[in-house]
């Protein structure tokens, strides 16, 4: 009886946490399948997207990868890098303007920055396409138009991320620096920038993953270029080569590693300081 009531109480206490963990597990099932499929030998029948036989071949022989896949990955990485650099710089500047400066049109700027995050991608993608066609670039869709589009949708996320970090910053710190003989430039580089940097790095990582993963906007504005998500989408119609899962798994492992290393470094530093 006693153990029963105790069990009931325990369940009552942990029910919500348990349900939450179940939800998390649910979100990981498809990832597990991506990992699993990266070890699938599909050489017998390409047209069935189904686990057939375990193999390391997909990982070990990039030379046998489907035509164009590696190119699409490289293109996606290249675009994501360029878009990240541009969006991070422009977005960080804008975030400083929004938090630190009062100017006419600040409200309007705020709305323009918020809107891309709240617009359906299909509408943004088709608008851009309409613009490019109207401006006479309809025949030159490709790397540049993809890059323009990616910077456009990454920008808002950068502004929001850096803004959050910047507005959480105590302005007394900058005043203290100036009080302690730091000029405006020294104050910025010695105090403001190092303190905002984690926000900027976070924004850059977010931009990279948004750009690398984008499909809907890219698909409308890519012309003849094929990015990795477009390759996967196209392959779906012909039969998906298992190698795409190698890329998916590798991406996941790299991203998780970056996050974990960052977290570990933070914890280690904290521990060392506390000792």
């Amino acid at each position: 009886m006693n153990t029963l009531t105790r069990a009931k109480r325990w369940i009552g206490k942990h029910l919500i946490l348990g349900l939450g963990i179940l939800v998390l597990i649910y979100t990981f099932v498809p990832i597990a399948i991506v990992v699993l499929m990266s070890f699938n030998d599909s050489s017998k029948s390409r047209n069935v997207y189904k686990f057939q036989q375990f193999t390391f071949d997909n990982w070990l022989h990039p030379g046998r990868w489907a035509d164009g896949m590696l190119d699409s990955v490289m293109l996606s990485i290249y675009i994501a890098l360029c878009a990240t650099v541009i969006a991070t710089i422009l977005g960080t500047l804008a975030a400083f303007a929004m938090v630190r400066h009062r100017f006419v049109g600040r409200k309007a700027a705020n709305i323009i920055i918020f809107l891309p995050m709240a617009s359906p991608e299909i509408v943004m993608g088709s608008s851009l396409l309409a613009l490019f066609v109207a401006a006479g670039f309809g025949g030159q869709l490709g790397f540049w138009t993809i890059l323009i589009a990616h910077v456009m949708f990454c920008l808002s996320f950068v502004v929001v991320t850096v803004k959050a970090r910047l507005s959480g910053l105590d302005d007394n710190l900058e005043q203290a620096a100036m009080d302690l003989y730091a000029t405006e430039a020294q104050t910025f580089w010695r105090v403001t920038f190092p303190l905002v940097l984690p926000g900027i790095v976070g924004a850059a990582l977010l931009s990279f993953s948004l750009s690398f993963d984008d499909f809907i906007i890219t698909n409308l504005n890519s012309g003849q270029e094929v990015t990795f998500p477009m390759f996967v989408y196209g392959a779906n119609q012909r039969g998906v080569p298992m190698e795409v899962n190698v890329i998916g798994t590798a991406m996941f492992v790299i991203a998780i590693t970056i996050v974990l290393v960052g977290e570990l470094a933070r914890r280690r530093q904290e521990k060392a300081l506390a000792a």
Binding site: A177, M178, R190
Partner: protein, 384 residues
């Protein structure tokens, strides 16, 4: 005495590096924070700016630091005008209210910050000395968030002091500490100030803190200085009802001023005739507030003798008694329906008087003060 301290004391004698504010004004869109403030802080003094929140004391401090620009007026350090000088060009450093320690730098780097910005190369020795002064040598490589409030406070102090500023500004530096730690830090700050001999300008709303630490206290209210002087002078001889109430507590009794009689001013108070020393009378005709501090009021059961040369006022009764250890605080309702506070030392000469006891009160005339009745008798009473 350290050589540095010696050097500053010798120039202090010359008096050439006083901090002078003249006609200093700061207006915001909706209100005036500081109104035509004139103030001289002599070099080497521990000076306190005391006042309730919103009185303009922090704004004044920030203008001296260069963090706010005055609307008009000037700030001089000795003969040099610094009114519009950038904060990093002034020989003035600040200990901020929430300390504002750089969270990404360790304690040693925080302390070294000012020296390094001024291009001083070898700062190790100075940083070590300074950390020793504030007793934080063993914490040099911790980061600020890992430290307690008291330790952070000492880092903030060290970070400012190491630059040997001509004026050190302290913005409620002890406000975030608990009471016990605060008392300890007050003594510590005072010790350090005496040791380094710099001018300290300390902003606070804690009257006890101001009185314990400062050589001179300026009481500020609504953007102006109400009164300035040594703590004893302010406490014993307040010039305004605000000072009388904000610094300690006061009984203010309405009276008719009869006029000067030799070096005394006579006041008729509720039928009795009281006298106030001429230098403590800040009004000489018409209506006035007769002020007397609660601990100066003498109390006895009705009809019992009171050891005071002045008039005895009869007809009161005790409405509240609180025992606070060293003293007993009585509230006495007088026949004219005013409640007076009476603090009596617990010497053990007499048992505590219970609520309802009929009592007589009196005081020594030399402790009374007289204020203009046009002022609000409740000004400066803190509501908390």
């Amino acid at each position: 005495m350290s050589p540095a301290a010696e050097a500053t004391t010798s120039t202090a004698r010359a008096g050439s590096r006083d901090l002078r504010l003249s006609q200093l004004t700061k207006e915001y869109a909706t209100f005036t924070a500081v109104k035509s403030l004139d103030l001289v802080v002599p070099q080497g003094q521990f000076f306190a700016l005391l006042g309730p929140s919103g009185c303009g004391k922090t704004t004044t401090l920030r203008m001296v630091a260069g963090l706010d620009t005055p609307t008009s007026g000037t700030i001089h350090l000795g003969e040099t005008e610094v009114t519009y000088e950038k904060p990093y060009k002034r020989p003035v450093n600040t200990v901020f209210q929430n300390y504002a320690l750089f969270p990404h730098l360790d304690i040693a780097d925080n302390v070294a910050f000012g020296l390094k910005r001024r291009g001083i190369k070898d700062v190790k020795k100075q940083v070590a000395d300074m950390l020793e002064l504030v007793e934080l040598t063993s914490q040099a490589h911790k980061k600020p968030p890992q430290m307690s409030g008291g330790q952070q406070q000492r880092v903030a102090l060290a970070r400012a002091l190491i630059n040997k500023p001509e004026v050190l500004l302290l913005d409620e530096p002890l406000g975030a500490l608990d009471l016990k730690l605060r008392r300890g830090m007050q003594l510590e700050l005072k010790r350090i100030q005496t040791e380094v001999g710099l001018t300290f300008v300390h902003v606070t709303h804690d009257q006890e803190e101001a009185m314990t630490m400062a050589d001179t206290v300026a009481v500020m209210n609504q953007g102006v200085i109400e009164q300035m002087g040594a703590p004893i002078e302010l406490y014993e001889n307040p010039r305004t009802t605000f000072v009388a109430n904000f610094l300690g507590q006061s009984n203010l009794i309405a009276g008719e001023i009869e006029g000067r009689d030799g070096d005394q001013v006579k006041v008729r108070v509720q039928g009795a005739l009281a006298s106030v020393p001429g230098d403590r009378a800040h009004s000489e005709s018409g209506k006035g507030w007769l002020g007397i501090r609660p601990e100066k009021v003498l109390i006895a059961e009705a009809g019992q003798p009171i050891d005071a040369p002045g008039d005895v006022i009869t007809g009161g009764y005790v409405t509240d008694v609180s025992f606070v250890g060293v003293s007993t605080q009585y509230t006495v309702r007088m026949p004219w329906d005013q409640e007076l506070m009476v603090f009596e030392q617990n010497t053990g000469a007499r048992a505590m008087l219970p609520v309802g006891t009929k009592v007589d009160i009196s005081w020594r005339p030399e402790y009374a003060f007289l204020l203009d009745a046009s002022q609000d008798a409740k000004a400066g009473i803190e509501e908390d």
